[in-house]
């Protein structure tokens, strides 16, 4: 286990190094002098000179990279030019909102995706199977920002059941919080449910045709027990680990969903930063996202390793 963890960590270091180069490189895409752009429209020479010194713009590129990465390693992701606040503080401030949205979305995706996947596999080639496949195609093809607008039209404008936008902290008013979050969470969970449904279906079909399921049936066990206790439990392992890879879809989707429903989270932070030309925030958000993605992948791999006895045994052998 320890050796596996070490091997896995060794592959992460070069990946993180290239992520840092990629994100640092973004700044080099700015046309002309970055200090001129960061200084705003007034182009105050003293501000430009200050930015040159602060960002080490007069130094060669590799030296600037070392300064930047040195700061990142000490937790300094730069400072927002607009709000004059450290980027890390801004990220920490917005992250809980997005985590709540993402958690609700994952719960919705798991309950719809796994249920539809199991039904589709058990009732293969029936109307249920076709309906589940249509649902998956719908989920994969619907732009979530459009789905969000259509849900606002139905549940907020026409029926008046849910608020169209805004955010209330769950610690202030849990009911109002859930009312505001249910639509965006559904929108975000919809696409992931479709992916989970496809993974569950193929994993279940494989497990249902295996010898131990045939044996369970031959013993005369109730079909429900066979499906839920014997088949689903084994089929879920790859589904959960593959589901962790959907973290990227979740964050990409959160950017658009938070924009549609005006939720002050991580996604809205990057969009606002783009429009305010707050490049340090853009870089900081991408860096945090990539690091979180890599960490989650590592955890998913470890979880798969821990629950899969064959992998565990081969590592200890």
């Amino acid at each position: 286990m320890f050796n596996y963890l070490l091997r896995r960590l060794a592959t992460i270091v070069p990946t993180l190094f290239f992520v840092s180069i990629l994100i640092f490189g973004l700044q080099q895409l700015l046309p002309g002098d970055p200090a001129m752009i960061l200084a705003g429209e007034e182009h105050d020479p003293s501000v430009i000179a200050y930015l040159h010194k602060k960002l080490h713009l007069d130094e060669p590129l590799p030296v600037r990279y070392l300064y930047w990465v040195g700061g990142v390693l000490e937790g300094d992701l730069g400072e927002s030019q607009r709000i004059q606040k450290p980027v890390l503080d801004l990220v920490a401030e917005k992250l809980p909102v997005t985590i709540e949205l993402a958690t609700l979305a994952i719960l919705i995706a798991l309950s719809i995706g796994i249920t539809a996947g199991v039904i589709s596999a058990v009732a293969k080639d029936t109307a249920w199977d076709y309906a589940a496949n249509v649902f998956a195609l719908w989920g994969l093809s619907t732009p979530n920002f459009w789905l969000g607008i259509m849900l606002i039209l139905l549940f907020s404008v026409t029926l008046g059941w849910l608020p169209a936008s805004g955010y209330v902290s769950p610690f202030e008013d849990l009911r109002a919080n859930l009312a505001a979050m249910i639509m965006p969470a559904f929108v975000l969970g919809n696409a992931i449910a479709a992916v989970l449904m496809r993974h569950t279906r193929s994993a279940m079909l494989q497990v249902l045709s295996s010898d131990y399921v045939r044996t369970a049936r031959a013993k005369g066990l109730d079909e429900r027990v066979v499906v839920l206790k014997h088949a689903l439990r084994n089929a879920l392992t790859p589904v959960i680990t593959l589901g962790a890879l959907e973290f990227g879809t979740l964050l990409s989707g959160a950017v658009l969903t938070e924009q549609v429903f005006t939720i002050p989270g991580f996604g809205k932070l990057i969009v606002d930063a783009v429009f305010n030309r707050d490049y340090a925030v853009v870089q900081g958000v991408v860096l945090c996202t990539a690091t979180a993605y890599i960490t989650l992948n590592l955890l998913a791999d470890l979880a798969y390793f821990l629950v899969n006895p064959r992998l565990r045994d081969s590592a200890s052998a």
Binding site: V19, I21, L22, T289
Partner: protein, 292 residues
């Protein structure tokens, strides 16, 4: 002799692999309907000036936010422009973004993946770690960051989407090359003295094309959504030029009194993306030798 020739003619002719794939694809009703919808959108984009009933940029203050009618089938927008004409012209931005960005991703991803898979060693390790780094940044967030630093425009959005989609093609090509390069016919090509470049381009590349075609079709669907998303955020096609994403961005502000402004552009994105997804699924099955 004559009888022998007649017998040979009566035998079924050898079907080429490409033709076999097309025949298998033609048997899939969903994929064929999807292909029809894609062709319909391509024609719409090409013939937009002839098909659109109005100039997509012409405003009319006497027809602001009018619902669907005989004159304006899809209604009008917040400054009196015809929504149907803008949806028709918007097809151009979506299809252009889909095709150009996937072409960029293919042009970058295939040679890099081919080099990684064929050369192996430290070249493979370096390319693989760089690919992992790019894949660690979620597709749309990377595209947003690139579009933000390059500046908002349709061209930059296409470049951003293309670069963001590249690592998938690198990985796919590399994996396919690793499978193909150990085949006997590659060994034979090497034994008769073919150069590495010739082996890579003439013997390996044609054999990794099927998975690339499938992935490219599915990537067009993802690119159409990504372009619409970037335009929705204001980072793609700039107003007043029509694009489905930017039309939705405006429409969300008028959802309570002009819902038709949001319905048609969204439905168009959905139909086009669904069609490319169905076509991609159909192609995957058609290329699969196990499928009948």
């Amino acid at each position: 002799m004559t009888t022998a020739t007649a017998d040979l003619a009566a035998l079924p002719r050898e079907i080429s692999p490409g033709r076999r794939v097309l025949m298998r694809l033609a048997r899939r009703r969903g994929a064929m309907v999807a292909l029809g919808v894609v062709v319909f959108f391509i024609l719409l984009a090409l013939l937009a000036p002839q098909l659109a009933p109005f100039d997509p940029l012409a405003t009319s203050w006497s027809a602001v936010r009018k619902g669907p009618s005989a004159a304006h089938w899809f209604g009008t927008d917040e400054i009196g422009r015809d929504v149907l004409s803008r949806v028709i012209f918007g097809t151009r931005a979506s299809l252009l973004a889909g095709c150009v960005s996937v072409s960029i991703a293919l042009a970058l991803g295939v040679p890099i993946g081919l080099a990684a898979g064929y050369i192996g060693g430290w070249v493979d390790a370096l390319i693989s770690r760089m690919t992992d780094a790019m894949l660690a940044c979620p597709f749309l967030i990377l595209a947003i960051a690139l579009a933000a630093f390059l500046g908002p425009s349709l061209t930059n959005a296409m470049i951003a989407i293309g670069i963001s989609a590249t690592p998938i093609f690198v990985r796919l090509t590399r994996a396919a090359v690793l499978q193909v390069k150990v085949e006997d016919y590659i060994e034979a090509a090497r034994a008769v003295g073919n150069s590495h470049l010739r082996i890579a381009l003439r013997h390996i590349l044609p054999n990794v094309v099927p998975p690339l075609i499938v992935q490219a079709t599915l990537a067009v669907a993802a690119a159409v959504i990504a372009e619409a998303a970037l335009s929705f955020l204001g980072l793609g096609q700039q107003p007043p030029a029509p694009s489905w994403g930017s039309m939705l961005n405006t429409a969300k502000n008028y959802i309570d009194n002009a819902p038709w402004m949001a319905v048609w552009p969204g439905l168009s994105i959905f139909l086009l993306v669904l069609s490319f997804n169905l076509l991609g699924d159909g192609l995957r099955d058609a290329f699969d030798p196990k499928s009948r």
